[in-house]
């Protein structure tokens, strides 16, 4: 099997995403209508049953997450459109092709948890997406599709850490985007201290399909434990660097060779980094893994953002990881010690290795630091920052050692 299945992008380039009418013509807002006819409990049950898991980092069952929201006078639905993982642009694509599905999905969530206000937090790198979404929301309101649900778009300003849900909330509140400690989780005390559901674009955009076609239908697509589709973005040394929507039981090697058309310039494959910059580097021997959450976890990787960065045989892994370590140094918010100091020292040591000034002890130091960051950092950024380092030392250790002083 090497076919795309398009749920989210089914009408890509056939409708104007800013126009609610266009979307309605192809069956849009039916899911919301159906949701409105259900009790909150049944609606959440339906979403649970679909098996939809958050398309962000944690892969938590969406319906389950909603069911934890306690009663409160004011609640919020927040969409995380801060996809900051380098190599990732699938949320942009979903918006550009099907913004109304996101809007409908958020409104469905609003019905489920009884919230009247939604926020979309869009990364500052996408001002045109902000414009598009604002138009799309206005259009949806104009045709009366949203009822009493309203959505405001807020723009980030260049901070990868704001992809972390609590940092994102801080940023919407107008603060420095520093993550909060959990608990309390946003579901209990989120935006302005009230219960808040935060999901990402892809998660929300699946909801209209689930409601319209039924939970069972969605649950039957892809991997049973992580059903549905996944939008992937291919970058790096592949012939076909573009986006695809595939079922979640799709095999990684098919992504590279079938959809990606194989390695560019007839070169040999060396590695693929999946899930963006915080993802693990996967060597050839693990390419036969399906992309679903659990299968990837089993090989120490994560599908995460769906970014797939392919590297050919000529690529200098240590150089790339050095560059990645710079990214994390730049993006650490600076709140907690392990991350603020750790990402800084990781970059220092990586540069030392990359420039041939390091010894074996530096690699040990790096692994020790990675272990502490992973265990002790406050949020996902600091915990995941060392993953590219540890996964490449594991699978491509020889490339590090080649650069050490004694071998230089």
């Amino acid at each position: 099997m090497a076919e795309e299945i398009r749920i989210l992008l089914a009408h890509a380039d056939q409708i104007d995403p800013a126009q609610a009418e266009d979307y309605i013509k192809v069956g849009g807002y039916k899911g919301l209508e159906k949701a409105r006819g259900m009790t909150s409990k049944d609606l959440i049950e339906e979403v649970k049953k679909s098996g939809l898991r958050g398309r962000g980092g944690a892969g938590f069952n969406a319906g389950m997450k909603w069911s934890f929201v306690p009663p409160a006078e004011v609640k919020y639905v927040v969409c995380n459109l801060d996809e900051g993982e380098p190599g990732t642009y699938k949320d942009r694509i979903i918006c550009e092709k099907n913004a109304q599905a996101l809007i409908e999905g958020m409104a469905i969530c609003g019905v489920a948890i009884n919230a009247q206000q939604g926020y979309i937090y869009c990364r500052g790198e996408y001002p045109f997406v902000v414009d598009l979404l604002r138009k799309a929301i206005q259009s949806a309101k104009d045709v009366g599709a949203l009822g009493d649900f309203d959505i405001e778009v807020r723009m980030g300003a260049g901070a990868y850490v704001c992809g972390e849900e609590t940092a994102l909330i801080e940023s919407i509140e107008g603060h420095r985007g520093e993550p909060r400690f959990k608990p309390p989780f946003p579901g209990v005390a989120g935006l302005w201290g009230v219960p808040t559901v935060v999901n990402n674009v892809e998660t929300f955009a699946c909801l209209p399909y689930i409601l319209t076609n039924g939970a069972d239908c969605f649950a039957s697509i892809g991997a049973p434990k992580y059903p549905g589709t996944k939008v992937l973005t291919l970058t790096g040394d592949v012939n076909n660097p573009t986006y695809f929507e595939v079922p979640t039981n799709y095999i990684l090697s098919d992504v590279v060779y079938k959809l990606g058309g194989g390695v560019k310039n007839g070169r040999k494959f060396k590695a693929v980094q999946v899930g963006g910059t915080s993802g693990a580097f996967i060597p050839e021997q693990n390419l036969n893994t399906p992309i679903d959450f659990d299968s990837m976890s089993a090989i120490g990787a994560a599908l995460g953002s769906g970014a797939v960065l392919v590297m050919d045989e000529t690529r200098d892994i240590v150089d790339i990881v050095t560059r990645i370590s710079k990214f994390f140094e730049h993006e650490s918010c600076g709140k907690c010690n392990p991350c603020r100091e750790g990402t800084f020292r990781c970059r220092e040591i990586m540069e030392k290795i990359n420039s041939g000034r390091a010894t074996e002890a530096d690699i040990d130091n790096l692994l020790l630091l990675a272990r502490v960051m992973k265990r002790a950092a406050l949020c996902g950024l600091g915990q995941a920052a060392p993953v590219p380092i540890t996964s490449t030392i594991e699978h491509f250790g020889h490339e590090y050692r080649r650069k050490l002083l004694q071998y230089a």
Binding site: N337, R345, R375
Partner: protein, 353 residues
């Protein structure tokens, strides 16, 4: 009540108790840098991490509620390793000038490095890199010693409410700053020194007290402030029979009004005690000027004059201004002197001024 096991010891705590408090209740000594019971929680220094069975990552105990059935290890290998590395990371950015540091002996970084045997940092790259000079006469700011616990920021906001400082920039460049990274005098800072009070290291210290005595050498005498009527409790730091600084006690049971908080006068306005202008001997007016006199001479002179005037013009020709700045006991004696000894009710003080 909930039950949990800490270092093999089963304890019971009220629901809602933080894990840190539970651990302390169980007798575990949990190190903390950013934690301060009077301030908004940060959960950022990660020194208080503990091992909770079944959790993939370590848990920062200051921000984690204790849960029923938790099994906690406070000094597991993982915990100790993490704390040591965190200390090494902090040590790598901290300017060590312990011999001349005002906090030497009362520095948490020092204490924990000693406790965990961290003699040096393995991170030999870039060192302290901020520096800072602030021309104000009260607070020394040396961000090359700062460990970014943000207690000063939280105290400035939560205790004083001045909100003069915050974190600027991010990541390793993050630094505590007044607006536009400017001088405190140009900010809303009121120089209360609460930031010095909560700073766990020597990044913030008193310029007025600088160089006069290290914490361990100073005796601390709890007393009541001599300025306004609020009645704040403060600690006079005494070294060699001299007041060399003012600190404050944050225990409500000893500092009931202010709980450690002071204002600029209370914290920095004590050095008049040793002003060279202090009067140290009685004086008598002679030929239009005042000359030193012995106590006996001066007292006899004063008593003689008072008697003379009382006899000549009657007791109501004398009056006394007692003082709102002396003690109750002294005020009592002052009015007793006027009423019982001189025989007049002409006694007042500056309550109206």
């Amino acid at each position: 009540m909930i039950k949990l096991t800490i270092d093999g010891k089963e304890i019971e705590v009220a629901r809602g108790t933080m894990l840190l408090d539970a651990c302390r209740q169980a007798g575990a000594d949990i190190p903390t840098l950013c934690y301060d019971p009077d301030l908004r929680l940060a959960g950022s220094c990660r020194m208080c991490v503990v091992d909770v069975k079944g959790r993939p990552a370590l848990v920062a105990s200051c921000v984690a509620p204790a849960e029923n059935g938790m099994v906690v290890q406070t000094e597991s290998d993982d915990v100790v390793e993490s704390r040591k590395i965190i200390l090494e990371l902090l040590a790598a950015r901290h300017k060590f000038e312990c011999p001349t540091c005002e906090k030497d002996g009362e520095c948490k970084l020092q204490d924990y490095m000693y406790r965990y045997g961290v003699k040096e940092s393995r991170y030999d790259g870039e060192g302290p890199h901020f520096g800072m000079e602030d021309p104000n006469p009260f607070i020394e700011r040396d961000y090359d010693k700062c460990i970014m616990c943000t207690r000063c920021v939280r105290a400035c906001d939560g205790i004083t409410g001045a909100q003069a400082i915050n974190v600027k920039d991010r990541g390793h460049h993050a630094k505590i700053a007044a607006p536009f990274d400017g001088k405190l005098a140009d900010s809303t800072c009121v120089f209360c020194g609460q930031c010095i009070m909560v700073c766990p290291v020597g990044a913030l210290s008193s310029k007025v007290a600088a160089g006069q005595g290290k914490p361990a050498q100073n005796k601390k005498v709890l007393t009541t402030c001599t300025y306004c009527g609020t009645g704040c409790t403060l600690e006079l730091n005494v070294n060699n029979d001299r007041v060399v600084g003012v600190t404050s006690n944050r225990d409500e049971n000893w500092s009931p009004v202010n709980k450690g908080a002071l204002c600029v006068k209370g914290r920095f306005g004590w050095d008049f005690i040793h002003s060279p202008d202090r009067l140290t001997t009685p004086m008598i007016r002679e030929n239009g000027g005042l000359r030193p006199a012995s106590w006996d001479e001066a007292l006899d002179f004063a008593a003689g004059k008072i008697k003379e005037i009382k006899e000549k013009y009657g007791p109501d020709s004398l009056a006394m201004f007692s003082s709102a700045r002396v003690t109750n006991e002294e005020n009592y004696l002052a009015q007793k002197l006027m009423r019982a000894v001189i025989g007049t009710n002409n006694v007042d003080h500056c309550a109206r001024l």
